[in-house]
Amino acid sequence: MIRSRKLHAHQARMAYLFISPAILLFSVFTVVPVFMAFYLSFTNYDVLSRMDWVGLSNYRKLYTDTLLWQTFRNVLFYTVIFVPLNILTSLLIALLLNKAIRGVKVFRTLNYLPTLTSAVAAATVWLWVLHPEFGLLNGFLSYFGVTGPAWLSETRTAMASVIMVTLWQAVGSNMVIYLAGLQGVPDYLYESAKLDGANAVQRFRYITWPQLRPTTFLVSTMSIIGALQLFDQAFVLTQGGPANATKTPVYLIYQQGFNQLQMGYASAQAFVLALAILIFSLINMRLSKAEEPIV
């Protein structure tokens, strides 16, 4: 009895020792920063000298910051278009390639390849693909007698271009997630549905889609969180332009905090963005729940 208690105490000591490096780093670089971000958002911290308490004035300033709200409009527009398109395209490609047919692995690999590129490399490649005169896309359009726009430098098409590039990069890994999800749908559901005379569309509507609900929830949550924090592609493709049409909140926070050194104010902006992410994630959660009765 005493021996076993001693053993447990020893085990617990070793356990604390094992987790201590991870917990220490976690405290210093996650826990402390979260609380500090909150504190900083009430100060005028500027790296160099000041860190005075300014109360709510940063948050009051947010109200009238038209550029901030524009970046929010931009990224909301981006999210509302990108996330559904991302789900739709990944799911369609997964459905298409969810077969034991010769060559299907090659197709899967080709669709997966773009996810291996970094955001910067992908954006660099697309700078060239979207080149107004000699780029691949407009060159392709010209085969059909269409003169393509200057994709990245026109306000109408700049955000569409960013959506295109990020979609190209995101679809592959979501396709793999959906393929894994499809593999988990039991065959007998389809068999009995067929016996009941359900057609392909009905089988998708009443079996595949509800069965994939957890997968869709995962994919949508991750892509919402990623989309609202869009930065890399907007930075490399358009530098936020033209006329701030593709500037995103993270971009603005980066500039505000690290170029203009208004870190207190930038922290307040970061909190507003975090709130937006939370709200969108909750909405997504509700939408996923609403589907439940179908199962």
């Binding site: 000699f134 679809v171 970061a270």
Partner: protein, 300 residues
């Protein structure tokens, strides 16, 4: 058509040939659209300049040239950036594999009072968007005491800013690594542990010699994830690294694309060089890539 395939059903007879044709045509078209930008940039990187700027598109180069690769490596210290990124990514992999599995093992296999609450806090922290901790992490790194010219109050110098530690340390034991390894250790039986204890093995030896070798597939998957994340990261290195000699390959590529907007040959060469390590990793360890993503699908 596509939804039919979802059901995995097939109907024998004439319809089958038609279905197969439709499948191959659709799959080829989709895959080609996804693959073309890749192919196009590879071809561009080997084309002489006058053929890059050709209208209508000239697909194949008249002769292959390596001049763009030479340019990419001579106009900017690309090799150095490559080395920096490689070092950072490898350090990230090693530290996450070791610290992540060490903590993950403790959370999965050892009993201690704070096990559940601490793990729950780690899980919750995974939901905090990175943008919130970006600015204060910068502050913390700048004011760490006793490093980079700082005194015990953390002022006087630059702390860890502008050093590789500013990237390695904050990411050295990611919550995801701990979580991922814990999930894997949970699937392993505990009786080996009991036997080893009776034999008199120490706790660390049990972890290191008995359990860790059993997690090789998980380590491979986590290693790939961590390498890819480290290699591709852009915003954080850009924030903490000022010294041009310490820049990473993604920063180098971005600066190059920005400053040489018309040199598409070298730009494409640079982008491909920056993708190459991940591509090699993918070719060598393909099955772990897919397993890793499938895992993230299961955890949801």
């Amino acid at each position: 058509m596509k939804t039919t395939s979802a059901a995995g059903g097939y109907s024998p007879g004439a319809g089958r040939a038609l279905r197969l044709t439709v499948f191959y045509v659709t799959a080829t078209t989709v895959s080609l659209v996804m693959f073309l930008p890749f192919l196009w940039s590879v071809l561009t990187s080997f084309k002489p300049d006058n053929e890059i700027f050709a209208f209508p598109i000239r697909w194949l180069p008249s002769h292959f040239t390596l001049e763009h690769y030479r340019d990419a490596f001579t106009t900017v210290p690309f090799l150095r950036y490559f080395g920096n990124s490689f070092y950072l990514a490898i350090m990230g992999v090693l530290s996450n594999l070791f610290l992540g599995s060490l903590a993950g093992y403790a959370f999965a296999k050892l009993t201690f009072r704070l096990n559940k609450p601490l793990f729950r806090v780690l899980l919750m922290a995974m939901m905090i968007p990175g943008v919130v901790t970006m600015i204060p992490s910068f502050y913390v790194l700048m004011h760490l005491p006793f490093v980079g010219g700082n005194d015990w109050t953390g002022s006087g110098g630059h702390g860890l800013l502008n050093s590789f530690w500013a990237i390695i340390l904050p990411g050295a034991a990611g919550s995801f690594a701990v979580f991922f390894m814990r999930q894997f250790f949970l699937t392993l039986p505990s009786d080996m542990m009991e036997v080893a204890r009776i034999e008199g093995a120490g706790e660390f030896r049990i972890f290191w010699q008995i359990y860790l070798p059993l997690t090789k597939p998980a380590l491979a998957t986590l290693g790939i994830f961590t390498f890819q994340a480290g290699w591709n990261s852009f915003l954080w290195p850009m924030i903490v690294l000022n010294d041009p000699l310490k820049h990473t390959i993604q920063m180098g590529l971005q600066a190059f694309s920005y400053n040489h907007q018309t040199d598409f040959g070298p730009m494409m060469a640079g982008a491909l060089v920056a993708t190459l390590p991940i591509l090699v990793l993918f070719i060598l360890l393909q099955k772990y890539f897919v397993q890793g993503i499938a895992f993230s699908g299961v955890k949801g």
